[in-house]
């Protein structure tokens, strides 16, 4: 792998950039691999990378139906944080955040991880209490969190509506180590680093079946033929139910649309991630200057990566309600992604009832921040045929057993999670 650096850039500039190599190869599939990962999103690519890096398993293919990184990895609002309530989640996400913190150097790819801070506003005593419970849980688990009062929030984000708000700002829960990263770069960076360790990244190769013999996985049928595998990992956010069904699994998942928006480019205006507590809305500013924002699910099953207007109306209204100066700005583009919503809003990284078949999915609207941690834990689970303690609770059986990890307490209603 040609290492990237400022010096190298200078060198290539002299030769008119004519000699930059491919970031990753475009190999044909081999007849079989030790591990086939289905899905070339951030999670699939990270899984392959950590299989190679942490477990020395390099005979690995990532098969992706389209170009890599254009699923949810390529369309999310890029918030990275580990501010969860339950220990099952906060240990996992904290581990992921730790991996983010060194990711640039590890991958030799600038994923623009920017620890700008994530501020969750609250607007009532009961919301403050819920934030406090969560923040205290984080702190007890060694994760940074700060509880800000109204004045502290005002000093930090003066643009909020402090005078005329329908739901006044009471304060906020701040995680300074949270922030954003460049979504595309994450996929590309993992792809390049995995490829450098020998992983085959096979694009435009859709898995159409999962072959089993005697209850054991033997490989995958694809649009480019059968590919044998001793172990198969599913990491196909947005399509988890469909791919799992190829192995006869029926999951506690519904697929829903989540929309996102970006404004025209602006000079720096919002310098952290801010989430509204009185409506579905959150915002940050990208390095290019666009305000990237979103809200809640549209709230109906859908595999279409596009959404509907009622959600748009609510999200935009919430934005102006929270930050009145947004009103005059113009929104440039809206898009949607398909969220595999589990019945408790928490993910699955686990073995399945089919031997040799592993599942990584159900990321709901929060899996971008999990990318390195998810890949790391999934690789561990596949390599050892057993979960790491960070993902031990993220099983399918938890629903049957009554051990849901329901942060919001919303219950088995995916559209409300």
């Amino acid at each position: 792998m040609t290492r990237y650096s400022g010096l190298r850039l200078l060198g290539h500039a002299l030769s008119g950039h004519a000699r930059w190599p491919r970031a990753w190869r475009a190999p044909d599939p081999k007849p079989s691999y030790d591990v086939v990962i289905i899905g070339g999103g951030g999670h699939g690519l990270a899984s392959a990378y950590y299989l190679a890096k942490e477990h020395g398993i390099t005979n690995v293919a990532v098969v992706e139906k389209g170009p890599i990184g254009l699923g949810n990895t390529g369309r999310n609002t890029t918030i990275v944080r580990s501010n969860y309530l339950f220990p099952e989640n906060n240990h996992f996400y904290e581990w992921s955040l730790k991996l983010w913190e060194g990711l640039e150097q590890d991958l030799n790819f600038n994923v623009m991880m920017s620890q700008r801070g994530v501020l969750n506003l609250f607007h009532s005593d009961s919301q403050r209490a819920a934030s406090a419970r969560r923040g205290n849980s984080m702190r007890l688990n060694g994760i940074d969190a700060e509880l800000l009062d109204r004045e502290q929030v005002k000093a930090m984000v003066p643009l909020l509506d402090y005078d005329n708000a329908r739901f006044p700002v009471f304060g906020g829960l701040l995680q300074r180590r949270g922030g954003t990263a460049r979504h595309d770069a994450v996929a590309w960076g993992f792809a390049r680093a995995a490829d450098a360790r020998g992983v085959d990244i096979i694009q435009h190769c859709e898995v159409t079946g999962i072959r089993r013999e005697g209850g054991r996985v033997t490989g995958v049928e694809t649009t480019r033929g059968f590919i044998g595998a001793r172990k198969v990992g599913i990491a196909v956010a947005g399509n988890t139910s469909r791919v799992a069904a190829m192995a006869g699994l029926r999951l506690p998942i519904e697929s829903h649309v989540l929309q996102a928006f970006v404004t025209e480019g602006l000079k720096p205006l919002v310098d952290m991630v801010v989430t509204f507590g009185a409506g579905h809305f959150y915002i940050s500013q990208s390095d290019k200057g666009g305000l990237v924002f979103g809200g809640g699910l549209d709230g109906y099953n859908s595999y279409a990566q596009r959404g509907s207007l009622p959600t748009v109306e609510h999200v935009w209204a919430a934005g102006v309600a929270m930050m009145p100066c947004l009103s005059r700005l113009r929104v440039l583009r809206q898009w949607g992604g398909v969220m595999d919503m589990t019945m408790d809003g928490s993910p699955l990284i686990c073995r399945t009832p089919v031997e040799g078949l592993y599942l990584n999915g159900g990321w709901c609207y929060g899996g971008f921040k999990a990318t390195p941690g998810s890949g790391w834990c999934f690789a561990h689970t596949i390599a050892n045929d057993a979960p790491h303690r960070f993902n031990a609770a993220m099983t399918i059986e938890r629903f049957r057993e009554g051990r849901a990890i329901d942060e919001r307490g919303a219950g088995p209603y995916p559209w409300a999670q």
């Binding site: 139910s241 999951l251 519904e254 697929s255 109906y300 099953n301 279409a304 009622p310 049957r400």
Partner: protein
Amino acid sequence: MHLIDCPWCGPRDEAEFAYRGDATVTRPAPDAGIDAFYDYVFTRANPRGWHVEWWHHAAGCRQHVKVVRHTMTHAIAATGRATDILEVPAA
């Protein structure tokens, strides 16, 4: 934005409805046991294609409307009352 033909109110905007999920699952008999209830409450076919589902006309007649809708195109093939059995197109 979906236009849902409420069997009582006529075509109404999606904004008036609250989605209430898969209408193909039926509540098991009270003594059916945990597994049956687990299936009913948690597991979903979640098809990419035609889906029979509930849309509660929350801001209208407050009825649960049964809707056959395509989860890729969002086309609606049929709507009906809660007890209606609706035809689901082949593909």
